[in-house]
């Protein structure tokens, strides 16, 4: 899993990496050898091992499963372990900067505590009791909707790219971001959950601020349809419940017939 320190192939790449801390910083160019099949994270590891041992970067699994190595590669939020070097033009520098929506700690590492604070404020899962034999019974078709959202690896790329907070620090207190609105949708669609989560989604976590531009879905490395399958249905349920007399009327009429 560790890329060889000494590259055997002889192709060089230029990486333009943001280096600095909360006090400031800037882009610096590095020339690093690249082997066949490598990803951006491999090149950063080689850079650490051979030129810049204190280059700060988060990573864990290096297989797209843990969501640690999030950064912006040529301006696009992505996982560096899935960004294959071969997909970039060979003669142009690759620019790597920290996630813009979060305060930088050092180099490519940002303070993502915003996300953990939001997670801590969500009302917890509240299941119905088990069946008499000690089991919960659920049909596959009923668990699949929430299962899609539980594929989330918490890379926070959706949080980073969402324009509600990306350049609007002032919106952060009122807005939980796509990841946690999706979590509310997940719980709302969970076959065992007993809480009504629609009001809180709107009032406490800022669902109304989302105007479904789908930027979050576009950057999701898991391919979760955040907007289409989580946020829009959640908005519809909120509207259904609270605000929209026409929908309410429609439902009522349908029920009568």
């Amino acid at each position: 899993m560790t890329a060889d320190l000494e590259a055997t192939a002889s192709k060089d790449a230029t990486l333009r990496i943001w280096r600095g801390d909360a006090g400031g910083g800037g882009l610096q160019d590095y020339t690093v050898p690249v082997n066949e099949g490598e990803v951006v994270l491999d090149i950063l590891h080689r850079l650490q091992a051979t030129q810049v041992p204190d280059l700060a970067v988060r990573w864990n699994c290096k297989a797209g499963k843990c969501g640690s190595c999030s950064a912006e590669v040529n301006g696009r939020p992505r996982l560096m372990c899935l960004a294959r070097m071969g997909t970039f033009p060979a003669d142009e520098p690759i620019t790597i900067t920290p996630l813009r929506a979060f305060p930088v700690i050092r180099d490519l590492v940002t303070d993502v505590s915003f996300n953990y604070e939001k997670a801590g404020r969500l009302p917890a899962f509240a299941p119905r009791p088990r069946d008499a034999d000690g089991n919960h019974r659920m049909q596959q078709i009923d668990v699949e909707r929430s299962q899609e959202f539980r594929k989330c690896i918490e890379c926070f790329l959706c949080q980073d790219t969402c324009h509600v907070v990306r350049d609007h620090e002032e919106n952060k207190p009122a807005f939980a971001g796509p990841r946690f609105l999706m979590r509310i949708a997940e719980l709302d669609m969970h076959p065992l959950d007993t809480l009504d989560r629609k009001a809180q989604a709107q009032e406490d976590f800022g669902l109304g601020m989302c105007n479904i531009t789908k930027c979050c879905s576009e950057v999701c490395p898991e391919g979760i349809h955040i907007t289409d399958n989580a946020l829009i249905p959640l908005k519809e349920r909120v509207v259904d419940r609270k605000y929209d007399p026409i929908t309410w009327l429609g439902r009522t009429i349908r029920r009568r017939s």
């Binding site: 490598e38 041992p53 204190d54 864990n60 499963k65 843990c66 299962q147």
Partner: protein, 598 residues
């Protein structure tokens, strides 16, 4: 006095994977003031990489399954070197541990009756693994993470423990560490510490393990006076990716084989039929036809040899490659494309589909995968009491991969996630109970001063090597000389090289400052890596037989005498001392289970 942040708890859990979080939840629920300390962000621990499932004899798919069958499979998979009581508790309690995950929000795949579905895996007689596609580890970690957050348990993220602190009587008094973000020091005073730090795989070059797997818990335990058991047993998972080079070692789940995938050599032969050991012959299919029928009719057919325990399959792949029958990049072929339709593969193995497409540009619904053995898991670990997960040091507990004994000489797939839950809970409960009875001892201030000085020493030295070079050389040594097949002369050479690496590590230099400095972090992990590597090599030299995850070319078979012995490591000054210790004897009522027909 050292400038540091001080905290006080009843129970401090080191590690936030499945075992650590399960321990913390239990300790908290028993009323203990509990903290979790972890090297990465919460939710990123290596448990997230587990794919196939959680082994638990729930009987949802095969009602004839039960704890005795699971116990038997586990013991036979470990070649009877398991601590029988751990294997028994594990098999008995795993179903309840899985069910309670549902109360905390987990959403497993379902049977047509709406129960938790269970899938086939190597070495398990019945379909037994509760799963969510092939991302079960993610489901487990997220469920436990969300439960931890809901309970309001304190979590110290991106914080590394470098020392356990002990009282004059040798019992635990707390831990010392640093924040990775700032480099500032922290102490936690606590009468109970639970080690849940995972494994040691980062000491090997080809591994499925992440940077965190530097054997911290094994090493901290030794330094505090605890013992390690059977460190020679390292599991090489038979199927890691082999191409391209940058992904070499990344795991390819055993579910591929559980769901119908087969291994082929360059001639297109299902070579596993040539490697069925006598030990498993009675329960393994003899022909491809019988093996293929088994997937749908388990009563009248025997298991495909591709689903032998991992040690058997890994050795077979190694032999095929050595004999020149490997795939283009030095592995063998894992083929599910020609055996199952694309929709089935994408439904059952979505992560594998995604992983091969993104990292290797291979479509697993159309082509075979190239796979080969990768260092995956250490069966050896801290010697613990089965009931309480207590180590020999009062106040110290260990659960999950860092603990030893449960899996004997080889772990079955799926038994890790269940192990985390069963013994994580037991460790948390015992740690909380001790804390309720034993007040925390005052911290040894001189030990804190010494720990801080040791942590900062690499900055003060000049002109030394950088830590990455030393880590790289250690990985090469372990991979080449204490890998899947071992011989005396090579292990002796490894021990000589480890001695040289220890000297080099003492002279290394770290550049930069204390704020989020990966070079410094690695410099502080290296002594742990060297210490556990020495344990593995010494134990591998001591055990003159081949069994499970320890294969000696110069002692190719199992020896009955060694089947009754554990190898115990202790810290001896700067080095490691070994002794042999009799294995706990299986009681008669459990021995009977092995006399029944397979």
């Amino acid at each position: 006095m050292v400038e540091l942040e001080r905290h006080e708890y009843d129970v401090v859990v080191i590690g936030a994977g499945g075992a650590g979080l399960r321990a913390a939840i239990e300790a908290h629920e028993q009323g203990a003031r509990t903290a979790v300390v972890c090297k990465s962000l919460l939710g990123k621990a290596h448990t997230v990489m587990a794919e196939g499932g959680i082994a638990a004899a729930m009987g949802n798919v095969y009602p004839e399954d039960g704890w005795k069958v699971h116990f038997r499979d586990t013991m036979r998979g470990g070649k009877m070197l398991n601590h029988w009581r751990m294997a028994q508790l594990h098999a008995q309690e795993a179903p309840d541990r899985v069910r309670e995950l549902e109360d905390w929000g987990a959403l497993f795949d379902r049977t047509p009756e709406g129960l938790i579905s269970q899938r086939d895996f190597g070495g398990h007689r019945f379909a037994r693994l509760a799963h969510v596609g092939d991302r079960t580890g993610l489901e487990l970690i997220r469920t436990l993470q969300q439960r931890t957050v809901a309970l309001g348990i304190d979590v110290y993220m991106e914080c590394t423990v470098t020392r356990l602190l002990t009282a004059p009587d040798g019992s635990i008094s707390g831990a010392f560490g640093y924040w990775r973000e700032s480099g500032r020091f922290v102490t936690w005073q606590a009468p109970s510490v639970v080690l849940a730090t995972g494994g040691i795989g980062k000491s090997y070059r080809v591994t499925s393990n992440s940077w965190e797997y530097t054997g911290d818990g094994h090493s901290l335990a030794l330094a505090a006076g605890a013992t390690l058991v059977n460190m020679e047993f390292v599991q090489f998972h038979p199927t890691g990716m082999v191409w391209p080079p940058s992904v070499r070692g990344i795991l390819v789940t055993e579910s591929v084989r559980g769901d119908g995938g087969v291994l082929k050599n360059s001639a297109g032969n299902r070579f596993m039929f040539d490697y069925i050991p006598d030990y498993f012959r009675k329960e393994t299919a003899e022909t491809e036809e019988e093996a293929d029928r088994w997937y749908t009719d388990k009563k009248n057919n025997r298991r495909p040899p591709e689903l032998l325990p991992r040690d058997e399959v890994a050795r077979a792949i190694n032999s095929e490659v050595k004999a020149g029958r490997g795939s283009p990049h030095g592995g063998v072929l894992l083929d599910i494309a020609s055996r199952r339709d694309a929709a089935y593969i994408q439904k059952r193995l979505p992560s594998m589909y995604h992983q091969f497409r993104e990292l290797a540009e291979v479509d697993i619904t159309a082509e075979a995968m190239e796979v080969g053995p990768t260092c995956h898991y250490v069966m050896g670990g801290v010697e613990v009491d089965p009931e309480s997960a207590a180590a020999l040091v009062p106040g110290l507990y260990a659960a999950g991969e860092v603990a030893g004994g449960m899996h004997g000489s080889n772990r079955l797939g799926g038994n890790s996630l269940s192990d985390l839950l069963v013994f994580g809970r037991r460790a948390g409960a015992a740690a909380a109970q001790r804390a309720a009875q034993a007040p925390a001892a005052p911290l040894d201030e001189s030990a804190i001063t010494e720990a801080a000085a040791a942590a900062l020493a690499p900055f003060a030295r000049e002109g030394g090597e950088n830590p990455y070079t030393i880590q790289h050389d250690l990985q090469t040594t372990m991979n080449e000389l204490v890998g899947i097949i071992r011989t005396r002369s090579e292990v002796v050479r490894a021990l000589e090289q480890i001695e040289e690496l220890k000297v080099r590590a003492k002279a290394l230099t770290v550049e930069g400052h204390r704020q989020y400095n990966p070079g410094w972090h690695l410099a502080l992990d290296l002594p742990h890596m060297l210490r556990v590597s020495e344990c593995i090599a010494r134990a591998a030299l001591e055990r003159e037989e081949s069994r499970g995850g320890h294969t000696r070319d110069d002692f190719p078979g199992p020896e009955p005498e060694w089947g009754r012995l554990n190898v115990i490591c202790t810290q001896d000054g700067e080095g490691i001392a070994l002794h042999r210790q009799p294995l706990p004897v299986l009681p008669d009522e459990l021995a009977e289970i092995f006399e029944e027909a397979p």
